[in-house]
Structure formats: C-alpha cells, structure tokens
C-alpha cells in the first residue's frame, strides 16, 4: 500500500533504485562494448617481448612513429580501401536504382524482387561465401581482386536498397509535382528536387556499404585466393604474430570515425540553429 503513494520515501527510494538499476546496467553494457577499444588503444603503446601483442610489457611509441613498419600491412590496407571504394560505388548506384524502382513504380514480380533483396541479409555469411566460391570454381575464375569486388557489391547491395528505400518512401511526392508544375523537365526535376532530398538516404547507404566492405572477413576469406585485404592480414597475423602496428591502425580508424561523426553532428546542429 505504501508503495502507491508518490510521496512515501520508501516508494521514492525504490523508484530511484529502479531507475538507477537500468542506468547502471545500460552503462555496464556500454563499458562491455567499449572495453576492447580501450585495450586496442592502450596496447598500441606496448612494446611486446615475443611475436604476440597480448600482454603488457612497457610503454613505447615506436609503432606510432612507424605505422607502416610491418611488411605488407599498409599494402593490404590500401587494397582494402580500394575495394571498399569501388564496392561502395557499385552497390550505391545499383542499390539506389532498385530502391527508386521499388518505391516509385509498379511492376510485376515485386514479391520476388523483395525477397531476393531480403535473403542476402538473412543468410549466414559463411553460406554466401561458400556458395559463391563454388560458382567461381565451376567457372574457373581466377580468385583475387575482382572476385572479392564482385562479392562485396553483392552483399552490400541489399543494405543500400534498405537505406535508400526508407528515405525515398518518406519523401513528399507533391514536391516533384510542384517542380513539374513549374515547368521543370523530368531530368531537371530528378537532379534538382528528387536527388537532393534522397541524398541523406543514399549517403547513409554508401557509408554502410563502405564500412561493411572494408571490414568484411568471412566472404573475403573464401573468395580472395592469395589476395590479402586488411582483415585477411589481421587474421593471418593472429596465427603468425600480431604486430603492434595493427593496434595503431585500429586506434586511428576509431579516432577518425568518431571525429567525423562528431564534426558532422556539430555542423548539423549549427545548420539547424541557423535555419531557425
């Protein structure tokens, strides 16, 4: 009975405790999520004794001074960036076209198209990787840059479609009608009205595609042959010995990403304030 009264100190204490339990549990999860990043950063300043950088020895900035000091690592990094760039471009163009067709037009076999786009996202990566390898083996394709690029465009496509579709669906079709009423041709309407409004969705899809392609391991592992992307390099080094430079790259990537996101948020805030 006492718990019902909002003024009862007992109830107030319990409510406070309950709220704090949720907050504490949530922050605990956040800590669990961020702990490995902290470890990666701290160990980028380590000077390991053996080949593996798993236990703390002494502070050193050697790896930061010489990030490309490990054979083949920066080469694999630049290869990953190239593949991610082209995969993003390919998946974004193809995916945006599909998204527009899905939202704006009526056509036959819509259900089949929708499930063809949904299935790659609901399939374990290893299944896609293995089946694609059987295709390449049967066709006698040379495994390498091109097979990896083909595979990356394939699995990024669905994510771009989903991101762009969400944005185009929330678009007001009357804006385009208004443009046409003001004598804009179809091309002009598309370039000056449709595309700018859809741009955030396309950008989100492209960013997602880049992140997915750059960090992909399982599909690349199956279809790369002897080509070594950055994740493949890290995988190999887990067997042979982990250089500290891996942690340097990991830390730098984390910092750059957070910096970009925070800058983007601040710019967005300022713009919102200005338009007010």
């Amino acid at each position: 009975m006492a718990a019902r009264s909002p003024l009862s100190p007992f109830a107030a204490f319990f409510r406070l405790l309950r709220r704090n339990v949720v907050v504490l549990a949530g922050l605990g999860t956040l800590g669990y999520l961020l702990l490995p990043n902290v470890v990666v950063t701290v160990f980028s300043f380590n000077k390991p004794k053996g080949r593996f950088n798993y236990s703390w020895q002494e502070f050193s900035t050697d790896a930061w001074k010489d990030p490309c000091g490990v054979a083949d690592m920066c080469g694999s990094l630049s290869l990953s960036l190239q593949i991610a760039f082209w995969a993003t471009l390919g998946a974004t163009v193809l995916g945006t076209m599909i998204a527009f067709a899905l939202v704006r037009y009526r056509f036959r076999a819509r259900g089949a198209v929708n499930s063809l786009i949904f299935l790659p996202m609901a399939m374990p990566e290893v299944v896609m990787a293995a089946s694609l390898l059987t295709l390449f083996l049967n066709m006698g394709a040379q495994l390498g840059f091109w097979t990896v690029l083909i595979a990356h465009i394939m699995f990024c496509l669905s994510f771009v479609v989903t991101a762009v579709k969400a944005r185009v669906m929330s678009m007001d079709p009357r804006l385009e009608q208004a443009a046409q009423d003001l004598y804009a041709g179809p091309a002009q309407t598309f370039l000056r009205v449709t595309l700018p409004i859809a741009a955030p969705g396309i950008a989100a899809g492209a960013l997602l595609a880049f992140a997915l392609s750059f960090d992909d391991f399982i599909i690349t592992n199956f279809n790369a042959g002897s080509t070594v992307t950055f994740p493949m390099f890290v995988w190999g080094s887990a067997q042979r010995g982990t250089p500290v430079q891996i942690n340097v790259i990991g830390t730098a990537m984390f910092l750059i990403a957070v910096l970009l996101v925070v800058t983007g948020m601040l710019v967005g805030k300022r713009r919102a304030r200005k338009s007010r």
Binding site: A25, L33, A101, V126, A130, L132, T134, I246, V262
Partner: protein, 308 residues
Amino acid sequence: MTTRSEAAPPGTDEAPARPARRRGRLVPYWLLLPGILWLLVFFALPLVYQASTSVQTGSLEEGYKVTWHFATYWDALGDYWPQFLRSVLYAGAATVLCLLLGYPLAYLIAFRAGRWRNLILVLVIAPFFTSFLIRTLAWKTILADGGPVVGALNSLHILDVTSWLGATDGDRVLATPLAVVCGLTYNFLPFMILPLYTSLERVDGRLHEAAGDLYARPATTFRKVTLPLSMPGVVSGTLLTFIPAAGDYVNADLLGSTDTRMVGNVIQTQFLRILDYPTAAALSFILMAAILFMVTFYIRKSGTEDLL
C-alpha cells in the same frame, strides 16, 4: 523512333506521348535490371551451384561429377553433428546474453539519456569502425590466464559454477566455450541494441504515465506496456544476432580451441584447407536450410504472440 517523335511539332500531341508512356512503363525494369541481375548471378545462382556440388562425387585430380550422392548429407551430419549442436547452443546463448545486456542500454538511450542520447548512440556504433578482428583479438588480452578479469571471476567463485556447467576449464576462460560465447555476444551486441532502440523510441512516454496513473507498479508497467510494444525490436534483434552468430567461425577460431569448433569452422576448413567440396557444400546447405526453417518458424510464432 525517338528522333521522329522529338522532331514532331508541338501541335500533334499523340505521336510523342505514346512512346514516352511506353518508355515510362519500362523504366522500373531498366532500373531493376543491373542490380537484380547481379544478385541473381552472384547470390542465387551460387546457391544452385552449391546444391549441385553437394551431390557430386569425385576427387580434386579427376574432377567432380553430379552422381546424386545424397549420402554426403548423412555422412556430414553423422560426422559433424556436435559442431552443429555447438553452433546452435553458442549462438542461442549469445543471443540471450545480447538481449539481457542490450535491453537496458537500449532502454537507457530511449528514455533516460536526455541530451546524452546522440553521444551514447555514437559510442554504440563507433566500435564498428575498428576492424572487428582487431577487437576480437583484444579479448585474448582481456580474458588472459591470470589476468584481472579471470582473477575476479575466480575469487567470486563464478568460474567454479561455469566449470561445473562445462563452460570453462578450471582457472582458464580463454579457449573455452565461455570465451567463444563472450566474443559472439560482444560482436553482435550492436545488432541487438539498434533495433531494440528503434522500437523503444517509438513507445509514447505518456503510456508509462498512464500505466502509473492506473496504479501499475514500474515492473508491471514494463511487463504489460513497454515490453509488448518493443516486441518487434526484440524479434528483429534476436534474428540479427542469432543468424550471423550461428554461421560465425572467427570467434570460435580466435578465442576457442579445437573443442569449441562450430559448423562455420568445419565449412571453412573443408572448403579452404581439406578441399572436400561436396562435404563442405552439403554442410553449408544444411546450415542454410536449418536457419531459414528456424527463422520462418520464429517469425510465424512471434507474429501471433505479438497480436495477443
């Protein structure tokens, strides 16, 4: 055709209008064609090739032929059922842990974070930008033998319980099922948090007040209002966690031992090292079928529960 219609004087409406309309009808197909073709050739066709490979016999030197050798499936299941079972168990455990760990954080972001909301969201997504392999390797340091985490778990006698359950091995956490599940949970946690947050964010905060006004205790409010309304997020979050976790072989390889191998590890070694393509294809096909079956069943079931 086009030149004639463009050259037609503006007075005659009929001639240019018709080709334009016909072209308009084809537009969606032209937009769909390249992307759909890509998915058909590099996603759907490979599944057919995989199915065909799984019933072939032969050897690498002499080549493989389709002989409808379905016994490969029975042999694969007979040889590797422990790995299949492990995949389901580990992925299931990781999914439950993700839900238990992820729900409070999603709830915190949706209802309690205030002006910190965007910052916390960024912190949830930010780890993605460091290669997940590097972050998974960091768990080797965190769970190292004799390290602070293992020491704390040991002094709290948690390791005694997990050892008794068979999840850990004496004083070790690394190279045990617990380490693999811990890595899987960590890797797929954001896939649970984000859908949960999206569905919690849509819950009208006034419903909480209304429940409180109707004398519901906080726990009751959660059970009868918040949780049912967040079910779409729970369903998509569990799917997004379970599916990739069941097929994963990275965590089992980096954090586990030969006793924690999952079906993904078997497919990987069969395909890339042993080069036994029919067995690998059969295993991959079974995994795909099992997951599609489970997902369909789960969606059906949760769909009806949602309405109750």
